[in-house]
């Protein structure tokens, strides 16, 4: 009896493959650190700099709050306009790339547009748009419109592909025109998810609109970069705090909006 119990497999046997994986990850980290010229001494001297940096950041300096508020407003404006146009454009593009409703010759171009919008980081689009339309919020808006199309277009297309086709077939059988099929057969099934995507994208646009200013595309990022370059670290800290506060407020609001449309 006891011998049999001894032969039973251990429930917690060591997983040697996992251990090998951890070892490989560790070895890779060492290799990458040597490749990137990261050393312990640099890290330690950096910590000293970091302490200086932090001591200059505190206390945050809110003296130029008018500039701060004005820039935050511009950031919000960029996000609002970009989300509105982004959602507006991504609706038809997402619809065109849904394979269950549209023919192949239409889904391929639409999918290519979405793929191009997704492929680059928004900062790269921001640089290109700053060169094309000059400094200012317009470049930021265009950047975020592209980012929104890439994100919402893709998710919206996937949402449409997952719908039940029964109402659509019923409407078609009853001889409804195409627009009616969309409005009464497709839209009710995807509307709630669409509101979710849109509010998520607004959130993302708000976050990114604080960043596009670093390359000159309007919003608070420009002020942040200027404060950084002029070593105004206490003002920098004030800007960072207000950005975080703004995003937290918007996250709270987006939870409320999602609850409203559930």
């Amino acid at each position: 009896m006891s011998a049999q119990a001894m032969r039973r497999e251990s429930p917690f046997k060591p997983n040697w493959w996992a251990r090998l994986g951890y070892l490989l990850a560790f070895a890779y980290a060492l290799y990458a650190m040597s490749f990137l010229d990261i050393s312990w001494s640099r890290f330690i001297s950096g910590l000293g700099n970091g302490a200086d940096f932090l001591s200059e950041m505190v206390p945050p300096n809110f003296e130029r709050w008018k500039l701060l508020v004005g820039n935050l407003l511009e950031t919000i404006q960029i996000a609002v306009i970009a989300s509105a146009f982004g959602v507006l454009f991504s609706l038809p593009i997402g619809l065109c790339s849904a394979r269950n409703l549209m023919p192949d010759w239409l889904t391929w171009p639409a999918r290519t547009v979405i793929c191009i919008c997704r492929s680059f980081h928004p900062v790269i689009f921001a640089i290109l748009f700053v060169k094309a339309v000059g400094f200012g919020p317009l470049a930021g808006i265009l950047t975020l419109v592209f980012a929104s199309i890439g994100f919402i277009g893709k998710l919206f297309a996937e949402a449409i592909e997952e719908i039940s086709l029964k109402p659509v077939e019923a409407l078609r059988a009853a001889g409804a025109p195409f627009m009616s099929v969309l409005v009464f057969g497709v839209l009710p099934q995807v509307f709630n998810r669409f509101v979710g995507f849109a509010s998520y994208q607004f959130d993302a646009n708000l976050r990114n609109s604080t960043m596009v200013g670093i390359v000159g595309a309007g919003g608070i990022g420009g002020t942040l970069f200027a404060a950084f370059q002029r070593f105004d670290y206490d003002f920098l800290c004030a800007i960072l705090i207000s950005i975080i506060a703004l995003i937290m407020v918007s996250e709270f609001l987006s939870v409320k909006v999602k609850a409203l449309f559930r």
Binding site: F12, A25, Y28, A29, A32, M33, F35, L36, D37, I38, R42, F43, G46, L47, N49, G50, F53, L73, E74, I76, Q77, I78, V80, I81, A84, S119, F120, H121, V123, I124, I127, L128, F129, K131, A132, V133, G134, G136, P137, L138, I141, L142, R207, N208, T210, M211, I214, V215, G221, L224, F225, F228, Y233, L240, I243, I244, I247, M248, L260, F261
Partner: protein, 264 residues
């Protein structure tokens, strides 16, 4: 037919709420369009300008790749991978602290959530700026920036996975008198490990994108080559850099999609 029932999908309060939302959204949009300082003339000739931009990029200067771009491209990949590893190490404790079924102290939960929100709110470019000030320009600043930026995402997803874990095995272990670390390693970890590796892969994919641009503020990688080429108006080189970033991002995405299919 006299019994005409009326079906109402939403309560009046819900309807009012939705109406208010639409109203506020439209009002915010109108206000933004009116007050934002956009010069419309610049928009009209944008297509012309973009055309000009691309005509200057063509033909691409591919001879630049072996001498000036191969190294930075590898550096970008290493920054992304090492940054992701750093992020896991930092996100694990924060995620544990944020999961309400593991840490039963509300103050600690809130503190962890504040860390997660701050990490996600500050853009990777801004994190990179901060760490360039701390560590000086170069890959070290970039790696740490990528790591700090990723804590929020990884930690949040990890905490959510932990909160969804079934309590059965955990209770069994606790009843048998297992110490805390064993409860975590044998009770929670096997349940959340697949989610954890999925999050990690997904984040690596995002980090490849992000680490390709943090060089614009001096934090290493191919972004630094892009910045140099932009400042010198060498548009044919800018074109090559963009092609490189595009290919590496697409390759990373294909790789991640294939690995995900295998492990999930």
């Amino acid at each position: 037919m006299s019994n005409t029932r009326k079906w109402v999908r939403l309560t009046p309060a819900e309807r009012l709420g939705r109406f208010a939302f639409y109203l506020i959204a439209v009002a915010a949009f109108m206000m933004s369009v009116r007050t934002v300082e956009v010069i419309p003339e610049f928009l009209y000739d944008a297509p012309l300008q973009v055309q000009d931009l691309f005509s200057r990029m063509w033909p691409l200067d591919f001879a630049y790749y072996p001498e000036g771009l191969h190294g930075p491209l590898l550096e970008t990949l290493h920054i992304a991978s090492l940054g992701t590893l750093l992020a896991i190490v930092m996100a694990l404790p924060v995620g544990l602290m944020a999961a309400e079924n593991i840490t039963r102290v509300p103050v600690l939960n809130w503190f962890a959530k504040l860390i997660l929100v701050s990490s996600r709110t500050v853009n990777s470019l801004v994190w990179a700026l901060l760490f360039v000030a701390v560590f000086g320009p170069g890959a070290l600043a970039g790696t740490v920036a990528i790591g700090f930026r990723s804590i929020g995402f990884c930690g949040k997803m990890f905490a959510e996975a932990l909160e969804e874990a079934s309590e059965g095995p955990v209770e069994a272990l606790k009843a048998a008198g297992a110490p805390w670390l064993t409860v975590f390693l044998k009770g929670y970890w096997p349940q959340v490990a697949p989610a954890f590796w999925g999050i990690l892969l997904f984040r690596w994919d995002i980090n490849v994108r992000e680490s390709s641009v943090i060089g614009l503020v001096g934090a290493g990688g191919i972004g630094m080559a892009l910045d140099t080429a932009l400042n010198l108006f060498e548009w044919d080189r800018v074109g090559v850099v963009l092609v490189c970033i595009f290919s590496i991002v697409i390759l990373a995405e294909i790789l991640v999609t294939n690995i995900r299919k295998r492990i999930i």
